[in-house]
């Protein structure tokens, strides 16, 4: 009995043995990233995973920066894998056409992380976006009121919370649109929060002054903002019937 138990323990010990990898790098898969500009101007990155996995992968992501020394926390996007051996992401057209961007993919496991090759992409194509409504420039409609916006508002402020436009409208109305960063051509989602989830959100307020008090209303989240931007930095922003907390709709088009 004693002998049987001993043999069992010894066999268990040796069969539980997992062979070590010869090199540190062998504990991580090999990542290969490719890129494609889609017909609508979006940038799609595809990453394939090669090699036997010693540990399961825990997270998958892409990062980019305008420097070749791109870190995994730079403009980080965490994604779900499309299969055991691949993951992908489509970036909205939120890139400056005159800049170069450096992208890399990465995965994590219990022991560390692995990185892909770095891809440099220049002159990301930005085709105009088409909003579902068609209005003249400087059109402003808020609830039952229809008026106009002032000409060519500029960025009113730039701080850690992003880029803010303040657009004066007739009848003491004012629209404030705050983007995470200087917007480029693309379709943005609205967000209720001022703390942004990078990179595609903006917050929109409408305030009115009745001579005594200001009243501020906010656009509900997950609605679309259409930005078309020219290479010289000018452009237009269009909102088509966005609903607000006060159950009003906001439609406007202005240039910047």
């Amino acid at each position: 009995m004693k002998k049987t138990l001993l043999y069992f323990l010894i066999l268990f010990t040796f069969f539980s043995c997992k062979k070590n990898k010869s090199k540190y790098e062998d504990y991580f898969p090999e990542l290969t990233m490719t890129s494609v500009i889609l017909p609508d101007g979006h940038l799609q990155l595809n990453c394939s995973i090669k090699g036997e996995e010693y540990w399961p992968l825990t997270h998958y992501g892409f990062s980019y920066n305008d420097s070749s020394d791109v870190q995994i926390n730079d403009n980080q996007v965490i994604v779900n894998p499309t299969s055991e051996k691949a993951f992908t992401h489509i970036f909205p057209k939120n890139f400056h056409p005159n800049k170069a961007y450096f992208f890399k993919a990465w995965v994590t496991n219990e022991a560390g992380y692995a990185e892909s090759n770095i891809i440099e992409i220049n002159h990301v194509m930005t085709t105009d976006v088409t909003p579902p409504c068609s209005n003249a420039n400087n059109y402003f409609q808020y609830g039952s009121y229809t008026g106009s916006t002032a000409n060519s508002p500029a960025f009113s402020s730039t701080n850690s919370d992003g880029i803010k436009f303040e657009i004066s409208c007739t009848n003491s109305y004012k629209i404030i649109i705050q983007f995470t960063e200087t917007p480029s051509t693309g379709i943005y989602d609205t967000n209720e929060e001022t703390s942004f989830i990078f990179p595609y959100n903006c917050v929109i307020w409408v305030s009115s002054y009745n001579g005594l008090n200001y009243h501020t209303d906010k656009v509900n989240s997950n609605q679309l903002v259409f930005v078309n931007k020219n290479i010289d930095g000018t452009g237009t922003i269009e909102l088509c019937g966005l609903t607000t907390f006060d159950n009003k709709t906001l439609t406007t088009k202005f240039s910047f």
Partner: protein, 191 residues
């Protein structure tokens, strides 16, 4: 180890010394290379095919690289991964392991045996971790563990000496942070 060795020196046993090469496995095997170690202590002679051993060991583990790529996670409204580095400046492992062997086959002066230990160990490590936004520190860790070791070996007796070649597998209980799992191959002498 000296206290332990001297404790058993009065018993009817022989002194054993065994240099070995240890290969860490599990998470520690990612960072630590095959490294040298030494076991020494007391072993009884086989009696009715059984014997008892009391060995201590000291291992100096060498890191696989000077700098490892590691990451840290910041959880706020969103989850952000930050890349960083880790350097292992020191990794020492010390163990005391009482055990039991059984002689499986004896052929002339050669014999084949197998056995097990219950190692009680401690490892101390000094690490430098630098993950921007998360951690930048030099940390010392002392981890104590208890485990199980299975082994097998062949030995050759001549005069009052016994030469042996042995392989074993040590498996510790607990989380990977505090355990020490490794395999060894060693050659030793008992006298």
């Amino acid at each position: 180890l000296l206290v332990f060795t001297s404790t058993f020196s009065s018993l009817y046993s022989q002194f054993t010394i065994q240099p070995f090469v240890a290969s860490p496995t599990g998470v520690k095997g990612v960072y630590l290379n095959k490294s040298p170690g030494i076991r020494f202590g007391r072993a009884y002679s086989f009696e009715n095919r059984w014997r008892i051993r009391f060995l201590g060991s000291l291992s100096y583990f060498i890191p696989r690289k000077r700098v490892f790529k590691v990451y840290g996670v910041e959880e706020s409204n969103t989850t952000t991964f930050y890349q960083g580095t880790k350097s292992i400046k020191l990794f020492l492992n010390i163990e005391f392991s009482p055990g039991l062997d059984i002689k499986i086959i004896e052929k002339g002066l050669f014999s084949w045996y197998a056995g097990f230990d219950v190692p009680i160990g401690a490892n101390t490590s000094v690490n430098e971790v630098n993950i921007p936004h998360i951690q930048s520190s030099r940390e010392s860790i002392l981890a104590i563990y208890i485990g199980f070791r299975g082994r097998t070996g062949i030995e050759y007796e001549f005069d009052a000496y016994t030469l042996f070649l042995e392989i074993d597998r040590t498996y510790s209980m607990g989380s990977e942070t505090f355990t020490m799992n490794y395999n060894t191959l060693g050659i030793g002498i008992t006298f």
